[in-house]
């Protein structure tokens, strides 16, 4: 594992590391640890969700029926596709194919923007329908109170997810810039790899959010 002379003077090797391999492992481990914190961050929300859904199953089902399953489903497809383009971007980076890499990064960002656009439309609908929690909240009388908890959870969970998407698109922009400048090569692609991990994670969060929020009580 001793670093060879060439690697030791690689321009991308930071001073605190001995070799590119060590640097790459450290970066990947760092991102995994970060994703663990993210799991717990959303975990607090999922725990809250679980408690209230357990207590108020009918109100949650009624409120869930107000969500637009078509838009939500489309968004799920959009995100899964973006994960594919992200994986292809990492693959292109590993192969050192810069033009393909740039292309896939653009595709990933574009899909991310589509997702946010659709999300915005959904938020707008909820606003028009007075389903935003607060003094102006309106819902069928029997479930008016607990539906408000559902929508509070809906907004904070999808809202934080959207914030993560925006950050992800920002990271992709940075990756695009680095790739454009030729800083990503076949022997130094950890930024792309690590950003890919983050992107997939945000995607997976949605995979959980979609059924939990949109599909309650729809199996019958």
């Amino acid at each position: 594992m001793l670093p060879d002379a060439v690697e030791h003077h690689h321009p991308a090797l930071a001073h605190q590391f001995d070799s590119l391999a060590q640097q790459r492992e450290a970066a990947a481990l760092g991102m995994w640890v970060f994703l663990v914190t993210e799991v717990l961050f959303f975990g607090g929300l999922f725990a809250t969700y679980a408690v209230y859904r357990w207590w108020y199953p009918d109100a949650f089902a009624a409120a869930s029926h107000e969500l637009d399953i078509l838009l939500g489903g489309t968004n799920t497809a959009v995100l899964i596709t973006s994960s594919l383009t992200m994986a292809l971007a990492v693959h292109s980076a590993q192969l050192g194919r810069r033009r393909l890499l740039l292309l896939f990064l653009i595709a990933t960002m574009a899909l991310g923007c589509v997702f946010l656009g659709i999300k915005g439309v959904e938020y707008y609908h909820k606003f028009v329908e007075h389903h935003v929690p607060g003094p102006g909240f309106e819902f069928e009388a029997a479930y008016a109170r607990q539906a408000q908890i559902f929508f509070s959870l809906y907004f904070i969970m999808t809202g934080l997810h959207a914030v993560h998407m925006i950050i992800g698109i920002g990271i992709m922009l940075a990756m695009f810039w680095m790739s454009w400048r030729g800083r990503i090569t076949a022997d130094y692609y950890n930024p792309i790899e690590v950003s890919g991990l983050y992107w997939h994670f945000v995607d997976i969060v949605w995979i959980f959010l979609f059924p939990l929020l949109y599909l309650i009580g729809r199996h019958a």
């Binding site: 605190q16 060590q22 450290a26 961050f41 108020y56 509070s152």
Partner: protein, 540 residues
């Protein structure tokens, strides 16, 4: 052993650039440690000033010095400052930052830029909280219990919550950096079981920071969202449950206690070994005990809620799990004590702090068993017994360890010796003042004096006067080290690379160390605390 050196080494991290930019844009973990040191010292004295006012108010039963509103804000801000802005970052962000790379023989942490970013995040979080303090303060208690914090309080809850939220990310990123560094950056030969125990405790602490902090971050965010947007997570009026907040809050905030005390345990292991000049008794057990405390710490949160209407059976489970935390803690205490047996014990200041830690932590830990015991918990929870207990852990434990560590590594950090006599004197004053302040509170608590009371029935006055008298002694005790450590920065004698004759990689480089820590990457072929090997020339 005591090498007399006339001057500091010609080149070290402190003279590697002098301008303000060389500090504000540094990526050197040692300089970042000093940035943290300066910041948390500021927060410590702000929090301390509030403690002074609290104790002055409580010297008389009537609420006569400050208004009830002011008093509530004082104890809230005291708690917020001390917990989130002093104790949690205290050892990890200063000594940990400084020592982790040195102790494993690395040039820096894995992510130096992230490390600097952590400090900036910490400062921004601190500024938010200071803004909340200056613009009117906050009166929810540092625990932010709902629904008081969401529907009742009219003070600056949101800025404070955001300050705590932001600071949490500094804590997460610091923990992440340590974990990756300890996993990936160890020098050749530095195996897990050759690592100094300080690193084991920092590693365990980092696990808690990474696993627990995001939960409080989201919880605090929910409180802020509820205040700002009228979301109803904890509002009984829409069917929300205020007690759910307590579950989420203590899921982090109980482990957070171990964020505060575990690093101090690490310091004590180092100091006891160095000042007895022998290996720590039961090294592996002490190392595993740190990890065990970190893991068990996540399973005991509901012992803060035995009177909050949780079910009897849940209470019993949490009681027995809480009892289990006592075991690794007790094992550590016994192992440190056993380490002193047949040692070559030097009574220098760090050792005095370490002995103080062991004694006070023992009392704090044993009173923890009182609180895990259901029947007793019901009577003493939310009384001064709790206040006394957690100050024994956080001040008698965490803070004593911090001061001991600060003295032990001060020559390494600054390159200069602190004045030994003054240091011993202030260690004694702090020990005395501490006990006089907090021991009477155990009695007041069992008598039934509730915490967070601005005025109290006159029956409790004698105990409170004792406590306030102790606090004034304690306050003086803290000011003395502040003064002589500053003094020593300029006038202290040069320390030489290893003033205490201790074994460890950090003592094998100059004091202060060069920016890159070691001239060549060390290769480790000995266990931690191998004093015999050092005498026989095998440690080099």
């Amino acid at each position: 052993m005591q090498t007399t050196v006339a001057a500091l080494p010609p080149r070290h991290y402190l003279n590697d650039g002098f301008g303000i930019r060389s500090w504000l844009f540094t990526r050197d973990h040692k300089r970042i440690a000093l940035l943290y040191l300066a910041t948390i010292t500021l927060f410590f004295f702000i929090g301390g000033a509030m403690a002074v006012l609290i104790r002055l108010e409580l010297a008389t039963p009537a609420g006569d010095l400050v208004t009830d509103e002011t008093y509530n804000k004082l104890f809230t801000m005291h708690g917020v400052m001390m917990v989130f802005f002093f104790l949690i970052p205290s050892i990890p962000a200063t000594l940990g930052n400084f020592l982790v790379p040195l102790m494993i023989g690395a040039k820096d942490l894995a992510f130096p830029k992230l490390n600097l970013l952590s400090w900036y995040i910490f400062v921004v979080g601190g500024l938010f909280t200071l803004y909340a303090l200056i613009s009117g303060g906050v009166d929810t208690g540092w625990t932010f219990y709902t629904p008081f914090s969401t529907i009742s309080s009219t003070s600056k809850v949101v800025p404070t919550a955001l300050g705590v939220f932001i600071t949490g990310f500094s804590s997460i990123l610091t923990g992440l950096n340590f974990i990756v560094t300890i996993h990936r950056m160890r020098a050749p030969g530095m195996t897990w079981f050759r690592m100094p125990l300080f690193l084991w405790s920092i590693y365990a602490t980092s696990l808690i920071m990474v696993l627990g902090t995001p939960v409080i971050a989201i919880t605090i965010l929910l409180v802020a969202a509820e205040r700002l947007f009228h979301f109803g997570f904890f509002d009984p009026a829409v069917g929300g449950d205020p007690v759910l907040f307590q579950h989420l809050f203590w899921f982090y905030s109980h482990p957070a206690v171990y964020i505060m005390v575990l690093p101090s345990m690490g310091v004590v292991s180092e100091v006891v070994a160095a000042f007895c000049r022998k290996p720590v008794f039961g090294y592996r057990i002490v190392a595993f005990a740190s990890v065990a405390i970190a893991v068990l710490g996540f399973l005991v949160w509901a012992h803060h809620m035995f009177v909050a209407g949780i079910s009897v059976y849940a209470a019993m489970i949490f009681s027995v799990l809480s009892m289990l935390v006592a075991i690794p803690s007790a094992v550590k205490v016994f192992n440190w004590t056993a380490t002193m047996y047949r040692g070559s014990i030097s009574w220098q200041t760090p050792m005095l702090y370490a002995m103080g830690f062991i004694g006070l932590f023992t009392i704090g830990g044993l009173t923890g068993v009182f609180l895990a015991t259901l029947a007793v918990n019901v009577h003493v929870t939310d009384t001064y017994f709790i206040v006394a207990h957690f100050h024994y852990i956080m001040v008698g434990g965490a803070l004593m360890g911090y001061l001991g560590g600060l003295h032990y590594w001060w020559p390494k950090i600054s390159g200069r010796l602190y004045p030994e006599f003054l240091a011993k004197l202030s260690a004694g004053i702090i020990f005395l003042g501490f006990n006089l302040t907090f021991f009477p509170q155990f009695v007041a608590g069992y008598l039934g004096m509730p915490r967070r009371y601005h005025a109290y029935p006159p029956d409790f006055q004698v105990l409170n006067v004792l406590s306030s008298a102790g606090a004034s002694i304690l306050g003086v005790g803290y000011l003395i080290p502040m003064a002589y450590l500053m003094w020593s920065l300029r006038y202290g004698r040069a320390a030489g690379s290893n003033p205490f004759g201790a074994v460890g990689l950090e003592w094998m480089t100059t004091s202060p160390p060069p920016t890159e820590n070691f001239a060549t990457t060390p290769v480790v072929a000995w266990d931690a605390y191998d004093y015999k090997g050092e005498v026989e020339g095998r440690v080099a």
